[in-house]
């Protein structure tokens, strides 16, 4: 029972609880808030895995930006929902079949990974983590880094064009 193990247990419990709450809550905003717990505990797991920079990025991007963006999406598309409206698609049998299929997938992957162990440990990952990432990013991965900036630009322009109001003369679909 090391401290690392206890921390892992607590963070994993919070992460899975957030996911299960997301599946079971009825209000959409509550589902997103439940997932914030999952995202933050995943950031804690990154710290356990000696990836401090990725942890900070996770908190910034997921718990901050993506969640706020999803909340805006919910608020902008919200219309009066009557009480007791369904939150899932399909009937009981379809959901049961989906659950069985997902469970079977989970079992299949679990059988593959549950005793996977390479017996090695990257002991130097936490020393100057950000510096290591910066060195690798600007030496080995310069081209993917630049392409990522192009992807962000394309996503920015595309999102603006998709979300802006149509012109008056545009054909209504």
């Amino acid at each position: 029972m090391s401290g690392e193990y206890l921390a892992f247990l607590a963070l994993a419990l919070v992460a899975i609880t957030g996911g299960v709450l997301m599946l079971n809550l009825t209000k959409v905003v509550h589902m997103v808030i439940a997932l914030v717990f999952t995202f933050i505990s995943i950031a804690g797991l990154y710290v356990l895995l000696s990836a401090e920079f990725v942890a900070v990025v996770q908190v910034l991007i997921y718990s901050g930006a993506v969640t706020i963006m999803m909340l805006f999406g919910i608020m902008l598309t919200r219309h009066q929902e009557e009480e007791g409206e369904k939150t899932t698609t399909g009937g009981f049998w379809r959901k049961a079949l989906t659950a069985i299929a997902v469970f079977a997938f989970g079992i299949a992957v679990y059988l593959g990974v549950y005793r996977l162990d390479f017996g090695e440990e990257g002991a130097r990952l936490h020393e100057n983590n950000t510096e290591q990432i910066g060195m690798a990013l600007y030496s080995h991965y310069t081209i993917p880094f630049e392409i990522a900036s192009v992807i962000l630009l394309v996503a920015l322009v595309g999102a603006i064009i998709l979300a802006k109001k149509d012109d008056e003369g545009a054909p209504k679909s």
Binding site: M1, Y5, F8, A12, A15, I16, G19, V20, M22, L23, V28, V32, L35, I42, L45, Y46, L49, A51, F53, V54, I61, V66, M69, M70, G73, I74, L76, T77, H79, T87, T88, T89, G90, T98, F105, G106, Y110, V113, Y114, R115, D117, F118, E120, E121, G122, A123, L125, Q132, I133, A136, L137, A148, I151, V154, A155, L156, G158, A159, L162, A163
Partner: protein
């Protein structure tokens, strides 16, 4: 098993991935489907970072890959949400079972 090793992280990521997959397949609100996809991408990121520490060749590369995945996931969320806005303006619904023009 009282020490944290590679397999526990992989199993946790598997559980989160399954939750995300089930939610993405059954939820009715399109925003929730999008955020379930984000959850699945997060599970994959856990795998990448776990392999960066405990994999056959530990190194910083896995973390770099996780960063790139986060970048692409953020771009995907933005574009998906914009498409959802356009859809909502045309169809006045966000329920995924009412968006079925291709079926008729």
């Amino acid at each position: 098993m009282s020490s944290v090793s590679l397999s526990v992280y992989l199993v946790l990521a598997l559980i989160l991935f399954c939750i995300g997959l089930y939610g993405a397949l059954t939820k009715r609100n399109t925003v929730i489907v999008l955020i379930c996809i984000e959850l699945m991408l997060n599970a994959v990121n856990i795998n990448l970072v776990a392999f960066a520490k405990y994999g056959a060749h530990p190194g910083i590369t896995g973390q770099i890959f996780a960063l790139f995945t986060i970048t692409v996931a953020a771009a995907e969320a933005a574009v998906g949400l914009a498409a959802l806005m356009a859809l909502y303006r045309n169809r006045k619904t966000v329920h995924i079972d009412e968006i079925d023009s291709l079926k008729h």
